[in-house]
Symmetry: C2
Subunit: 102 residues, 2 copies
DNA sequence: TCCCTAATTAGGAGAACTGCTAATTACAAG
DNA sequence: CTTGTAATTAGCAGTTCTCCTAATTAGGGA
């Protein structure tokens, strides 16, 4: 959960995710879409991978990254949990604690 | 959008948001719920405020923070946009660009 | 084997983040 | 005005993030 939101907190990483909506892309194709060095993009891809947001698949020389919807849904679940209960004092039942930050 | 996800990326800030689901709370009451100094919590509240996730209201000496659902919904909209279009190659229509990171 | 392309890892500089203590502001009440 | 409580701002140390260039790994083809 922690790495998930941290991964989402950088504009370049969010844009990479948006690119992958249409389907898997090679690392190089992603890097080419940005005005940054390829190693920097690799770093962002690693952050996304660690968060479970993407997964790499090797195909010969190229490595293609696929978007993992389930991770996106996990983040969404957290937000729905909060948006669901308004700021009214008569909230129904706050649900389970669901997170216990150290 | 940027500050929004950045605000959500810290466990303490997410827990503060979760606390506010039930209704507004005073700064001191929030600080008391954590094992950290009050000024540190003030810092987190400022981050949440800048992201539009909470808004402060003064009432005498105390300052109460209220959760702003609309900001939560904004973040949710971004995620739905992505989860909506799967990783299938025949995606319908990627929607508007909606974000153009520098 | 040797070379080329695809991609990652290593290492480091500079900025941003996160926590603290001390000092300050804001309000209420005597 | 002075005192006390609520809360923020100021300033600083240590850590993490973000970007770069240089070096390295991995695979495909001559």
């Amino acid at each position: 959960m922690n790495t998930l939101f941290k991964a989402l907190s950088h504009p370049v990483r969010r844009r990479i995710i948006a690119m992958l909506r249409a389907g898997p892309l090679a690392s190089g194709d992603i890097a080419a879409a940005f005005d940054m060095s390829w190693p920097t993009i690799t770093g962002h891809l690693n952050a996304l991978k660690e968060a479970g947001l993407v997964s790499p698949e090797r195909d010969g020389q190229t490595i293609r990254y696929r978007l993992e919807i389930s991770a996106v849904e996990e983040a969404m679940a957290f937000l729905m949990d909060i948006a669901g209960a308004g700021s009214r004092a008569d909230a129904p039942a706050p649900l389970k604690p669901q997170e216990t930050p150290k």
